[in-house]
Each structure stands twice: as structure tokens, then as C-alpha cells.
């Protein structure tokens, strides 16, 4: 009987045989599928946790460290790396303040000073501010949304390594005395081949390439996570404000970063292969650089600021013990800030000469962006007014933020007016303004939120007493450093000049600024010491030490590698405040392979079960391949042509399944 069947099987046409084989395979897989272990009432508690732990744990050792795709590990690395760059950029700031403490100082020469302010700005913008916001997002967002992983976790790992390599490129070059010296915005023609021979400007431009690839990858990861991986029931309307802020920020990165990718590539090609984009002698235009750069550069400051407003909303809600006043208004304010931010870039170019209607339009646009931001501030104030604020350390930073940021916002409205801007352009008044909005608007909330999420990340509390001392030193040190700069700017002191003569009345404000800088540095040092000390001595944190409402506090501190034993369900705006003793969950995800749940974009109803990729070395290897190509292309354009090959191999290996056989349910090996 079997022989007959085998004979007729062999006699069939090839397609028919293939079809029968596939059908048999499908039946076998369907049988196996029934045996798959899933979480549920029968598989819960310690037994479930042990199995999930074994499934989600990364391989041990250095290989596992490089191969991990756990968003918590990657987010932690992002935050720590960014804080190291903050320290490096801060040391450069101290060097500048030492130089400027006295008139006619000969401590640092003009040339070195050019490098130092370029490195300070580039480090703070590209290697600290944007990555730290993305790092916090990468760590917290999946926990806050009640899921087990970010989308595309390997892309996430790749983005971290690209960022790290870009930062190393810049700083190794600086140490080798080939660091850039053309300002953090590298204006042409100064940065072009004629006025910047050598490799300094190329190093800057390629550092940009690294960080932009990294930021874009992280932005895609965050957008997809926020839209598709929210817990069932967390509709867009119920989504926490920090997730909204990260969504708006990531979309802004997606639209803004291509501008700098384009203009820095054009700069490199002008320098390396003789194109003429910015070369006026061959009908190029240096102002093309400014337009493209600021089309990125202005949204960039909102890319830094908007996540910080998310921090402020979360802290305000928790420490005032009521939901943020007018949730919908805050969301709309975030979105409109994100859109308006793309219509302001020309206000950086008022001094270049514009059509008169351009002056009016961009003045109006620049002033109008203060409206949504103002709305948000009123919403936070109303939340405090109506709530019962507890002035613990994170909340103190929020108060410090509001005071400082409002001052910076007001000077922003001032310089939005063309006549005043032309007077103050390139003076210390502008330096004061943007440090008020960037440190006041982003670093204060960041320090607050690091204190706030520290127990979630480490499992211990930071010292409250030391934290309060740190806050006050930060607040006083900051204003002492930057308030006198308004004064020196109004007196006409220009930016980016390594010294100033005695007798112009600039001595006192500069000396106060320099003393303040050291107070601020002391505060940052105290913050770091508090963080390190509390790792070992801090009080053990409970899962929800601040009594907050969002889902990241529903799991243990620190969270297990799989985040949640069961995927939580959201039934209200403030889930943890509204559940009564029990957390609603869905069940049925795989236990022996990595899997999470995707939901629909708006209503967040369960949609698809999604396999999560295993740990893999290929993102790291791909980052190395791409990194070598980027660095080699500083020296020869052929690096791009030749480099396509190793990059293609590494990326193919990244995607290629490790076993070419079918599983009962898909896995990403």
C-alpha cells in the first residue's frame, strides 16, 4: 500500500509534490502549535517567571553584552554614555569660563578656544542632549506602555553603537588635535575647503553622520513602539503624556535629521570631491548651508525640549497626586509645538539679510511658538494649584524648570523681534537665552526625572537630603552663571571670542559667571555622587515608591528582563490609581520563545502576536562595518563604493534566519 502511494507521489509533477509536502508540513506544525506553553491562569507566579527569565535572558559574558537587544540595557547605556559626554562637555565649559574669568587672559589661545567652544556645543547637542532623551525613552517607554520590548530591538542596539562610535570619533580626534574648530553649526564658507583645510571640519561632519543615523534609527524604533505596542485598552486618548512627548519628538527627528544629513553630506563632498554647493565662485551659495542647517537646527532644540516637557508632566502628575490638568490641551500643545518648530528656522538668519516679508513672517512664527508652550506651563501650574504637591526632589526640579524656562522663553520672544535681534545677534545675550531654555528647559527636568526613575532603573532610592542640596546648588549655580550673560551681552560682548579687553565693564559679569559655573559643576558632581552612592546605600525601592499612576510602576524595581509576567490591560487614564488591588491582564503569549503583543494604532485592541528577535552580534558588527566606511570616507570617496560590500554582508546576516526551517510559530533567530 505504502509503496503504491510512494510510486504515484514520485510520478506527480514537481509542483504537486511540493504542494503535498507543504500541506503535510502545515498539519504537523498545527499539531505542534497546540503544545506550545503560554501564560495564563494555569501558568503564573514563580513558575511562569522562571520560564520567562530563561527565555528572555541574554547570553552571558562579553559576547552577550555586545549582542543584547534588551531595551533596558540599551537605554541604560545610552543614558550613562550621554552623561559621560555631559561631563566632558561640562569640563570644556569650565575651561572657557576659566579663560573668561579675567580680561586679556592668556590661559587659552584663540585657536584652542575655537576648538573648545566647537567641541562643547557639538558634544552637548549631538552627544548629550538628544541621545539622553532617546535613552530615557528607550528605557521607559516599553515599560510605560506595558509591553516587553521596543519594536525592532536589534535596530535599537545598532543605534546605540552608532552613537557611541560617533562620539568616540569626535573625542579621539580632539585628543589627537584634529578636533573641529568651526563652531557647532560649521557655517560655510568657514568650514569649506578654502578656509578649513585639513580634516577638522570633516571629523565634525562625519560625527554628524553617525549621530544622525543613530537618532533616526532610535526615532523609528520609538514611533513604532508607541503606535503598535501599547497595552490593550491604552487608546491614544489615554496614552501618558511622556509617551506623547516621545512620539512627537521622534516624528520631529524623522523630519528634521534628513536636513542635516543632506547638508553635511554636501559639505563633505564640497571638501572631498570638489562639488560646488556652497562655493560662491561657481554659483553655489553659503546661505544654502544656513537654510538646511537651521531647518534641522531649530527643530533640534524642540527635539531636546519636548521630551523634557514629558518628564515635567509625569513628575507633576505624580507629585501633585492628580492627573495633569487639561490632558488634551497638553497633547495638542505638544503637537502644535512640533509643527510650528519647522516654520521658524529663518530667525537664526535675520542678520543675513532677508526680504522684508520674511522678517515679518518669521518674527510672527517665532513669537507664536510661545503660545502652545505657554499653555503647557499654565496646565502644569493649574495641576499644582488643584493638587496636593509634595516638594520632593523631582518636584523641586519642576519648579526650578518653570522659573528658569519662563525667563528663557521671554528672552526668546524678545530676540524674535528683528530690530532687537540685529542688535543682540552673536552676543552673550543669545548665549544666556539658549542656556536658559536648554538647561532650564531640558537639563532641570532631566535631573528631576533621573531622580524620579532612578528607583525603577536601579531598585534603590537616591538620597533625598543630598538631592535637595544638589537641587539648590544647581539652581543657584545656574542663575549665577547665565544671568550675568544677559548683562554682558547687552554691553556688547560677542560670542565665540576667546578674550575681552579690560575697562569695558565686562569684568564683573564675567567673573560672576565663572564662579557660578564652578558652583553648577559642583552640583552636577554631587548629583553623580548621589547616584553612585545610592546604588549601594540607597533605601530599597518598592515597585511604586512615589505612588505614581503609570504602568512602569506596576512591575518590580528594577524590572525583570521580560518586563511583565502578563501583558497588563488599561481601563482608565491613570491605571495604577484606579485598579483595586488587582491588575487586569491578558494572557496567551508564548513562554518558551520571546513574544509580545501588538495592538491597533488608535483603539489599542489586541491585533497580532509578535515574535521578538533573539540577541545577536550582527547589529554590533554592522555598526562597525558602517563606522569604518564613514571614517574611511573622510579620506577617500572610494570608501563608499568599496564599503557597500561589507555593510551589505553584515546587514544581510542580521536579517537572515539562523535556521532555514519552519517553526510551529515564527521566531526571529
Amino acid at each position: 500500500m505504502t509503496d503504491v502511494r510512494a510510486d504515484s507521489f514520485d510520478a506527480m509533477p514537481a509542483e504537486e509534490r511540493e504542494r503535498i509536502r507543504v500541506e503535510e508540513e502545515n498539519r504537523r506544525l498545527a499539531q505542534e502549535r497546540k503544545k506550545i506553553a503560554r501564560d495564563g491562569p494555569k501558568l503564573r507566579g514563580a513558575k511562569l517567571e522562571a520560564r520567562l527569565e530563561a527565555t528572555w535572558r541574554r547570553p552571558p559574558g562579553i559576547i552577550g553584552w555586545l549582542a543584547t537587544v534588551d531595551h533596558k540595557e540599551i537605554g541604560r547605556r545610552y543614558i550613562i554614555t550621554a552623561l559621560l559626554f555631559l561631563a566632558l562637555g561640562g569640563v570644556l565649559a569650565l575651561a572657557m569660563r576659566l579663560q573668561l574669568a579675567r580680561p586679556d587672559s592668556a590661559l587659552i589661545g584663540a585657536e584652542r578656544y575655537n576648538q573648545i567652544f566647537t567641541m562643547h556645543g557639538s558634544t552637548m547637542m549631538f552627544l548629550f542632549a538628544v541621545p539622553v532623551m532617546e535613552g530615557v525613552g528607550v528605557y521607559i517607554i516599553p515599560l510605560m506602555l506595558g509591553t516587553r520590548s521596543t519594536a525592532f530591538p536589534r535596530l535599537n542596539a545598532f543605534s546605540y553603537f552608532m552613537y557611541l562610535f560617533g562620539g568616540l570619533l569626535l573625542w579621539v580626534a580632539f585628543v589627537l588635535n584634529i578636533g573641529p574648530d568651526v563652531g557647532w553649526f560649521a557655517y560655510t564658507p568657514l568650514s569649506g575647503p578654502q578656509f578649513s583645510p585639513g580634516k577638522r571640519a570633516d571629523i565634525w561632519a562625519q560625527m554628524i553622520t553617525f549621530t544622525e543615523v543613530s537618532a533616526l534609527a532610535a526615532a523609528v524604533v520609538l514611533v513604532c513602539t508607541i503606535l503598535k505596542a501599547r497595552a490593550p485598552g491604552m487608546t491614544l486618548a489615554r496614552m501618558p503624556l511622556f509617551a506623547w512627548a516621545m512620539l512627537v519628538q521622534a516624528v520631529m527627528i524623522i523630519f528634521a535629521m534628513p536636513a542635516i544629513a543632506l547638508c553635511s553630506s554636501m559639505l563633505i563632498s564640497d571638501r572631498l570631491i570638489g562639488t560646488n554647493f556652497y562655493n560662491a565662485a561657481e554659483h553655489g551659495d553659503a546661505l544654502l548651508w544656513q537654510h538646511l542647517f537651521w531647518f534641522f537646527g531649530h527643530p533640534e532644540v524642540y527635539i531636546i525640549f519636548i521630551p523634557a516637557t514629558g518628564f515635567v508632566s509625569m513628575i507633576t502628575e505624580t507629585f501633585c497626586r492628580r492627573p495633569v490638568f487639561a490632558h488634551a490641551v497638553v497633547v495638542l500643545a505638544l503637537i502644535s509645538t512640533g509643527i510650528l518648530a519647522f516654520g521658524l528656522w529663518v530667525h537664526h538668519m535675520f542678520a543675513t539679510g532677508l526680504p522684508r516679508v520674511g522678517y515679518s513672517f518669521y518674527t510672527a512664527a517665532s513669537m507664536s511658538v510661545s503660545i502652545p508652550t505657554g499653555l503647557q506651563i499654565f496646565c502644569w501650574l493649574a495641576t499644582m494649584w488643584d493638587g496636593r504637591p509634595r516638594f520632593q526632589v523631582p518636584m523641586l526640579y519642576v519648579v526650578g524648570f518653570i522659573i528658569t524656562f519662563v525667563i528663557g522663553g521671554l528672552t526668546g520672544v524678545m530676540v524674535a523681534a528683528v530690530p532687537l535681534d540685529l542688535q543682540l545677534h552673536d552676543t552673550y545675550f543669545v548665549v544666556a537665552h539658549f542656556h536658559y531654555v536648554l538647561i532650564g528647559g531640558a537639563v532641570f527636568p532631566l535631573l528631576g526625572v533621573l531622580t524620579y526613575w532612578y528607583p525603577k532603573i536601579t531598585g534603590r532610592m537616591m538620597s533625598e537630603t543630598l538631592g535637595k542640596i544638589t537641587f539648590w546648588l544647581t539652581f543657584i549655580g545656574f542663575h549665577m552663571t547665565f544671568f550675568p550673560m544677559h548683562w554682558s551681552g547687552l554691553l556688547g560682548m560677542p560670542r565665540r571670542v576667546y578674550t575681552y579687553p579690560a575697562g569695558l565693564g565686562l569684568e564683573v559679569p564675567n567673573l560672576i559667571s565663572s564662579i557660578g559655573a564652578f558652583v553648577l559643576a559642583t552640583a552636577v558632581l554631587l548629583f553623580v555622587l548621589n547616584g553612585l552612592f545610592s546604588l549601594y546605600r540607597g533605601a530599597i525601592a518598592t515597585p511604586n515608591p512615589w505612588g505614581a499612576s503609570t504602568l512602569e510602576w506596576a512591575t518590580s524595581s528594577p524590572p525583570p528582563v521580560y518586563n511583565f509576567a502578563h501583558i497588563p490591560v488599561v481601563e482608565s487614564d491613570t491605571p495604577l490609581w484606579d485598579v483595586e488591588g488587582e491588575l487586569p491582564v491578558v494572557t496567551g503569549l508564548r513562554v518558551d520563545e520571546k513574544e509580545t503583543l501588538l495592538t491597533t494604532v488608535v483603539a489599542a485592541t489586541p491585533d497580532v502576536r509578535e515574535p521578538i528577535p533573539a540577541a545577536s552580534l550582527w547589529p554590533f558588527i554592522s555598526a562597525i562595518a558602517v563606522g569604518i566606511v564613514f571614517i574611511a570616507s573622510i579620506f577617500s570617496p572610494w570608501a563608499l563604493a568599496v564599503g557597500v560590500i561589507p555593510c551589505a554582508i553584515a546587514l544581510t546576516a542580521w536579517f537572515w534566519p539562523k535556521e532555514l526551517k519552519r517553526h510551529p510559530e515564527p521566531v526571529i533567530s
Binding site: 523609528v220 538646511l292 491588575l583 491582564v585 494572557t587 496567551g588 497580532v608 515574535p611 557597500v644
Partner: protein, 203 residues
């Protein structure tokens, strides 16, 4: 304390793949399409910005690019949408046999396009070092070549994967579906570039 779970719903019957906006990679592809679209849009803006400075376009003394290679390229890439649509439909229908024919066809078309592209570079009548006009023309063509090349490599890898047993996994068919979606984007973006390189200098 960790809250005790209250079991509501069971999701084990949900599918492990879906086509379109339910797919996570669909959103990822969309994200990268927007990134590339933003870069192209700004390159177009740079083109018109530089054009605004000139008395003539192309600048005086320079000939507009020759039409032949670019026009053949345009016709071929537009016609490629037919097998591309067939591949997309085959993916949605789970018809592995058809995919195994159509993806190699798309690989062959991509290879032909890359060859024609070589002739296009040769018919621009300028070198990128000549002036700003030449630089931006070369930049547009190079950007789009990068676009073709990445999608072609992706199609090659995917076609290779389709000849393994993995081809029968639904998620791989979603990959084919989204690869076809991306190809549509590649040729859609070509249309304005074609106009800018070959027709705007002739206006």
C-alpha cells in the same frame, strides 16, 4: 507590592502576521520612507534654491542632459510596476510558486535599471565639479541611485530567502508585500527627479 493579576482576555488565537498597517515592519518601512522623502524634498528645495540664483538653467554655455538614457530608464521603471503589483498580490495570496517567479523578475529589472543608470550618468553633459548646477544634478541622480541600489539588494536577499522552506512563513510573505510597497515609492520619487534633471533645464 506587585499587584496580583486579574485575567481578562486570552490572545493565543491572534495571528502572528498580518498585512498592511497591522504589521510592525509596515510602520518601520513607512518611517524610513518618510526619512528618505524628507531628504529628497530638501534636495529638491536646494535644487530650486540654486536655480533661483542663475540667469539660465542650465547656466549659460552648458547643455541640458541628453534625454535618451533617462527616458528609457523612466519607461522601464514605470513598466516594472506591473510585475511588482503581481508580486504584491501573490504575497497577499500566499502564492509561493508565483513569488518564486516574480521576485527574480524584479531582481532582473533592477539590474537592467542599474545598467541604464550608468548610461544616464554618462549623458548629463557635465561633471559634478563644474558648477553648482552640475553638483545638484549629480546629487539628485546619485541619491536616487542609492535608493535603487538598496532596494535591489533587499530584493536579491528576499528572493534568495524565497527559495528556502521559510518562504511558506506568513511573515516572509509580509516582507514581499512590503518590499513591493517600497518599490512603488522608489519609482514614484523618480518622476519628479526625472522632471528636474531632464525637463526643467529645457523649459
Amino acid at each position: 507590592m506587585i499587584l496580583e493579576p486579574r485575567f481578562t482576555d486570552d490572545v493565543s488565537d491572534l495571528p502572528t502576521h498580518k498585512f498592511g498597517p497591522s504589521s510592525l515592519t509596515w510602520w518601520g518601512v513607512l518611517g524610513y520612507m518618510v526619512i528618505e522623502g524628507a531628504a529628497f524634498a530638501l534636495a529638491f528645495a536646494a535644487y530650486f534654491f540654486l536655480m533661483g540664483h542663475e540667469q539660465g538653467w542650465p547656466p549659460e554655455g552648458r547643455a541640458a542632459p541628453d534625454m535618451l538614457a533617462g527616458t528609457i530608464f523612466t519607461i522601464v521603471i514605470l513598466l516594472s510596476e506591473y510585475p511588482n503589483t503581481l508580486a504584491k498580490r501573490a504575497a497577499r495570496a500566499g502564492d509561493v510558486a508565483a513569488i518564486r517567479i516574480l521576485l527574480p523578475v524584479m531582481v532582473a529589472i533592477g539590474a537592467v535599471l542599474l545598467v541604464i543608470r550608468g548610461f544616464e550618468f554618462n549623458s548629463l553633459n557635465c561633471r559634478w565639479t563644474d558648477d553648482a548646477y552640475s553638483s545638484i544634478i549629480w546629487a539628485l541622480l546619485l541619491l536616487h541611485t542609492g535608493h535603487i541600489l538598496t532596494d535591489w539588494l533587499d530584493t536579491v536577499v528576499l528572493a534568495g530567502l524565497m527559495f528556502t522552506p521559510v518562504a511558506y512563513e506568513g511573515r516572509r510573505q509580509v516582507d514581499v508585500d512590503e518590499n513591493s510597497m517600497y518599490w512603488r515609492y522608489v519609482w514614484l520619487l523618480w518622476i519628479p527627479i526625472y522632471a528636474m534633471i531632464y525637463w526643467v533645464p529645457r523649459l
